[in-house]
Subunit: 585 residues, 2 copies
C-alpha cells in the first residue's frame, strides 16, 4: 500500500500515529541538520520533517537529495508542529519521517508548480500535465465535476433520462462547418461529428422518451476566436408535451439549484425581458443586469436642433455613468478614443456632465441648452454627479457600440462582481436574422425552431417581424443556455426548409428522416442547451473557459501537448479511399 | 399546459378529479355507442372512455376518428373502472373524456408498437424512433440511465472526479484502426477519435488528479462482428499511488454496489482466478462460473493406451454434463456434429455414459476398461447419471472448443440464469500474446501495461512467460471490465516500445508526450475500464447490447435511420484538402 492517508487529511487528532504518505515534493528547505519537505497531492500539502537527531542517517541523506516534483513515499510519526500554520488544513502537524523511498525522480519542471506560476500560456499548454498539478487548475476541474454531478442529480430527480446519442452521424451544410470522418467500410462516404444532438433529441421526443438530457461533447469546425474550442460540452435537454413556460420553469429550477448548491446564492424568480426590449434597453441580447446604466433613447429630445450629426442619425442613445462626473477631461478623451477604435467603430461621442448643483455642461453646449440637457438626463436616468455618454448612428450598430461601452465602464467601475449572480431570461427572439454576406435570412436559432403560433404566414410579407418561442438564459452578461419550441408538423418543417432556401431534394436528403418521423405522431416538444464550459467558468467566477477544460486546444485548433492534428500514414489514407489535395505545397 | 398528469400516475384516489392527459393512441375499441382508447406515454397507459350518453357529440365523433399512434390531448373526469385491470398501475380507473384535441395525426406505423412487435430488425432500426416507443426498448434506455447514475454517484462519493478528455486526438497505428478527422485549419493533417482515453488518463495521474473516472464514448474502426459497434461507451477509471489490490477492491466495491442497487442481489467477495487457471479449468479467460462442468484433464489416464487419437494429442480434456446420460444416441450425434462445425472445428468427440449402477459405457470401450473410465469420471467429477464429453488435440484449440461446448450445453440445460450473477476476477494475464498473422508478440492489454516486478528481463529469454498485473472483471461469462498497473518509468516504457517493434522515432512521434511526462515525476498508477454497453445488457439480464443503445449502427457501421455515412460536397472535400480515391469505381 502506497499510503495510509492523503496529504490533506492529518490533523492534531492524529498526533503520535505512524502514517505513510505519498506525493510530490512541492518544496524543500535544507538547513543541513534539519530538512523540511512540503509533500503535495490532489488533497493538500503535509509537511515532512527530517532531523539529524531523530532521523536515521540514510533517510536524512535521501531527504537532502530530493528535488522539486520528485515522487516519494514517506513513513513517520505525526507530531505537533512547533510553529503552526493556520492557513493549511494540515498546519497543526508535521511528519517526523523514519522511512522514505523515491518512487520517481523528476527533471526540473519548465515552470513553477505554484498558484501563481511563472509559466506562460504556451508553456503551460505544452506541459498541461504539469499545469494540472497547480491548485487553481486542479480546483477548476474538481469544480466542474461538482457542477456536472449537481446537474445530473437534479435532472434525474426530476425524472429526466440521460440518453447517449451517436457521435458518428451525417454532415449537414446548414449552420457551422462539420468535422467529418471518412468511412473505410463505406467507400467515398463520410460521417460527421455532431454540432449538437438536435435532431436526435427531437427523434427521442417522437420516440416518446419525453424528458431527455445529456451532457455531451459537440464539435464545430469554425475559425476559432479567443475562448472558443472546436470541441465543447453541452448540457442538452428536451421535453415533450410542453409549452415555453414549462421549459423556462424547469430550467430556471435547475439553474437556481446550481446557484444554491454550488455558489450558496439564493436567487428569486429570474427576470425576463423580450429580445426587442433587451436590444432597446441594453443594446445587447445577453445583457448584464448586475448593474444599471440602461440606455436612454434621445431621438425625441436631441433631434430637430441644429446638431446635424444627431439629426441625420437613425438613433441617438445615451447612458448615465454613476458618479461619472468625476472623470477628468483626459479620461473622457481616452474613452472617446476607446469607442473610436476599429473594434468598436463609433465616429465620436457626446458627453454631458451632470454637476452637483443641478446644472449641465456638455460637449454640445452650442446646440443644446440646460432645458434640453435636463430632458437627456431624464431619459437616461442621470442624477447630479453622473456623466451622460451619447452615441448616434444606424440603430443596430449604435446599440452594439454603446453596449460595449457600457460593459467596459462597468468593468472599470468594478460593477461586474464575480460573486454576484443575475440570471435573466431573454424571450421572443426573432425567428430569422438577416445575413449581410449571403444577403438573405437565416434561422436565428436553427431551422427546427417553430414560429410563434399564427405567425407562419408573416414569413412571406414581413420575415423580420416573425418571432419564435425561442429563449436564452443569460447569466452576468453571458449566454449560458438557449432553446426553443420546435416544429413538430411535417408541413410546417417543409415550409421552413423551403423558406430557408433548401430545395425539396436537399431537405429530403439531409433531414428526410426527421420529416418522416413527424408523420408518425410527433408530439409538441421543445428544449434547451447549456454551454457547460461557459456555465462552469461563470459559476466559478471567471470569464475564460480554458482552465475549466482539462486538455484544451489552442486558437489554431491544435493540442500542443500531444501535437495533434498530425499527418497520417499513406496506408491509412488508402484504406479510407482518400488522397491529399495540398494546394499550397 | 398539455397535461396535468402523466399516463402512469392516476389511481383510485384521483376519482372525480378533472384531469388533462396527453400521449399516443395505443389502441382503440369502438363499439359505436362507446369508444375506449388506451393512451400511452413514457410513464404508462391510461384508459379513456367515450360514451354516447355522457360524452359531447363532437368529442365522440373525434374519438371514432383516432388511429393508432395519433397524438392527442384529452380532458375528462377520473372515474372508477367497471372491470378493473390488476396488471396495469392505472387499472382501477378510466377517464370519461369531455374534451379532446388531436395534436398530431399519424400514418399507420410500419410495425406494431407492442412488447412483441411484428417488425424485423431492419425495419425497427430504420424507424428506430418508433421502436423506442415500445416498452422493452424504452425500459432498457431508462435502465441504462439508472446504471450510469449509480456508477457516477458511487464513484463520486468515493472521491473520484469525472474529467472530460478530448475527442480530437492523434492517430496511433498500434492497436485497432482509428477513425480519423481531417483538419481544415492544419492542411494535410488529421485528428483521430480516441479508441480509449488511455494516454490522457495516465497524464491526469501524472498531473496529480489521482482518482479519475469518465463515462465516455470510444471509437474503433474495425470490421464489425455481431454485437460490436464502431462507437461504444466505456466507464474509464484510473488511480494513482495504487497497487493491483487497491484497484480490485475499489471496483469490486463499485460492481457489488451496482448488483445491489440495480438488481437487488448481494454478492460476497468476488472469486479470483489466474489466467492460467481459468484456461485450464474452463478453457476460457472469461469463464461463466454460474455453473460447474469444469474441465478434467485426462492425459495421464487416457494416453498410453491403444487409442492413437488421444496418444497423439497434446491435450485430452473432458467435462461431465450433469444428468447428461439422459441424452439419446441421436442427441449425442447432434452434439458431435455441433462440435465438428467449422465455427468450433473439433475433429470428433468421445463420450462416456455414467450409468446409475456405477458402470460406464463409452464410445471408446474398445480401448478403455471400466477402471480406466472410472479414472476419467474422477478427473471430470462425473457422478452416476452424467455423461462425460471428451475432446483432444492441440492444447489451446481444444480448450477453446470444449469451452464453446460447455457454454452451449449450459444454455441448453438452462444453467445460464439471467437473474443469477457470478462475478469473477481473472488476474495475472500474460503481458504479451503471440500473433499468428504478424508472427510476433503483441501487447495483450496495451503497450502501457507494466510487467510484474522483476519480470522485465524475462522479455528477452521467455517472453510468453512474462505476466502482468493485468486483470479482467468477468460477469456471467462476459468480460465487463479490464485493466492493469501501468508503466510509470520512462526507461521501462522505452524498452517496452522497443520490444513491441516501435523504432525510437515512431515511439517518440506517437507517444513522446507520455514519455516526456514520465520524466517529471510520474506516480505509480493503474486503472480499469468497463464496457458500459455490455455491462448494462448483462445487468439487464440480456446478452445483446443493441437494444441498450438508443441509436445503434448495423453490422456495416451504418445508421440506417439517418442514412449515414453519406457522400459530402466537393466543396467540403476541397476545404479539407482532400480528394476521393475510389479504386472500385
Amino acid at each position: 500500500m502506497y499510503r495510509t492517508h492523503t496529504n490533506g487529511e492529518l490533523r492534531a487528532a492524529h498526533i503520535n500515529e505512524v502514517v505513510t504518505l505519498s506525493g510530490w515534493v512541492q518544496k524543500t528547505r535544507d538547513k543541513g541538520f534539519m530538512v523540511w519537505v512540503d509533500l503535495r497531492d490532489r488533497y493538500g500539502i503535509t509537511q515532512l520533517i527530517f532531523d539529524e537527531e531523530r532521523t536515521p542517517k540514510d533517510v536524512m541523506e535521501k531527504a537532502s537529495q530530493l528535488g522539486r516534483e520528485f515522487v516519494i513515499q514517506a513513513t513517520g510519526k505525526v507530531i505537533e508542529r512547533e510553529s503552526k500554520n493556520p492557513n493549511m488544513s494540515t498546519g497543526d502537524i508535521e511528519i517526523l519521517v523514519s522511512e522514505i523511498s523515491i518512487l520517481n525522480a523528476s527533471l526540473t519542471p519548465p515552470f513553477t508548480i505554484e498558484d501563481d506560476t511563472d509559466g506562460g500560456e504556451d508553456l503551460r499548454m505544452k506541459y498541461r500535465y504539469l499545469d494540472i498539478r497547480r491548485q487553481p487548475v486542479r480546483r477548476n476541474l474538481v469544480f466542474r465535476h461538482k457542477v456536472t454531478m449537481a446537474v445530473r442529480n437534479y435532472l434525474s430527480q426530476k425524472n429526466f433520462i440521460e440518453v447517449e446519442t451517436p457521435y458518428l452521424i451525417k454532415s449537414t451544410p446548414e449552420g457551422a462547418r462539420d468535422f467529418v470522418v471518412p468511412s473505410r467500410m463505406n467507400e467515398g462516404q463520410f460521417y460527421a461529428l455532431p454540432q449538437s444532438p438536435q435532431t436526435f433529441k427531437q427523434l427521442l421526443m417522437v420516440g416518446g422518451m419525453d424528458k431527455y438530457f445529456q451532457i455531451v461533447k459537440c464539435f464545430r469546425d469554425e475559425d476559432l476566436r479567443a475562448d472558443r474550442q472546436p470541441e465543447f460540452t453541452q448540457i442538452d435537454c428536451e421535453m415533450a408535451f410542453v409549452e415555453q413556460e414549462d421549459i423556462l420553469q424547469t430550467f430556471e429550477g435547475l439553474t437556481r439549484h446550481l446557484l444554491k448548491e454550488i455558489n450558496g446564492v439564493e436567487v428569486d424568480e429570474f427576470a425576463r425581458i423580450t429580445y426587442d426590449e433587451a436590444m432597446r434597453r441594453y443594446g445587447n441580447d445577453k445583457p448584464d443586469i448586475r448593474f444599471g446604466m440602461e440606455f436612454g433613447e434621445l431621438n425625441a429630445v436631441a433631434q430637430h436642433k441644429d446638431f446635424n450629426v444627431f439629426n441625420q442619425a437613425e438613433l441617438v442613445v445615451g447612458i448615465a455613468v454613476p458618479q461619472g462626473n468625476g472623470m477628468t477631461r483626459k479620461e473622457i478623451d481616452q474613452l472617446i478614443d476607446w469607442v473610436k477604435r476599429p473594434q468598436i467603430g463609433a465616429l465620436g461621442m457626446v458627453y454631458v456632465r451632470c454637476n452637483e448643483d443641478g446644472s449641465y455642461k456638455s460637449s454640445v453646449d452650442k446646440f443644446y441648452d440646460q432645458q434640453d440637457l435636463a430632458k437627456w438626463a431624464e431619459a437616461t436616468g442621470a442624477t447630479p454627479g453622473d456623466i451622460i455618454l451619447v452615441l448616434s448612428g444606424e440603430t443596430h450598430k449604435t446599440r452594439t457600440q454603446l453596449s460595449a461601452l457600457r460593459m467596459e465602464l462597468a468593468s472599470r467601475l468594478g460593477l461586474r462582481k464575480s460573486d454576484e449572480f443575475a440570471p435573466l431570461w431573454v424571450v421572443d427572439f426573432p425567428l430569422l436574422e438577416w445575413d449581410e454576406e449571403t444577403q438573405r435570412y437565416h434561422a436565428m436559432h436553427h431551422p427546427f425552431t417553430a414560429p410563434k403560433p399564427g405567425q407562419l404566414e408573416l414569413l412571406k410579407t414581413n420575415p423580420a417581424a416573425v418571432k419564435a418561442n425561442a429563449y436564452d438564459l443569460v447569466l452576468n452578461g453571458n449566454e449560458i443556455g438557449g432553446g426553443s419550441i420546435r416544429i413538430h408538423d411535417k408541413q410546417v418543417q417543409a415550409k421552413m426548409f423551403d423558406y430557408l432556401g433548401f430545395s425539396e431534394q436537399e431537405a429530403k436528403a439531409q433531414f428526410g428522416f426527421l420529416m418522416d418521423a413527424f408523420q408518425y405522431g410527433a408530439p409538441p416538444h421543445g428544449g434547451i442547451a447549456f454551454g457547460l464550459d461557459r456555465l462552469v467558468a461563470i459559476l466559478g467566477g471567471q470569464e475564460t473557459i480554458r482552465d475549466f477544460i482539462a486538455f484544451p486546444k489552442n486558437n489554431a485548433g491544435r493540442d500542443v501537448m500531444i501535437d495533434a492534428p498530425a499527418p497520417i500514414d499513406s496506408d491509412q489514407l488508402d484504406e479510407l479511399h482518400l488522397q491529399l489535395n495540398l494546394k499550397k505545397l
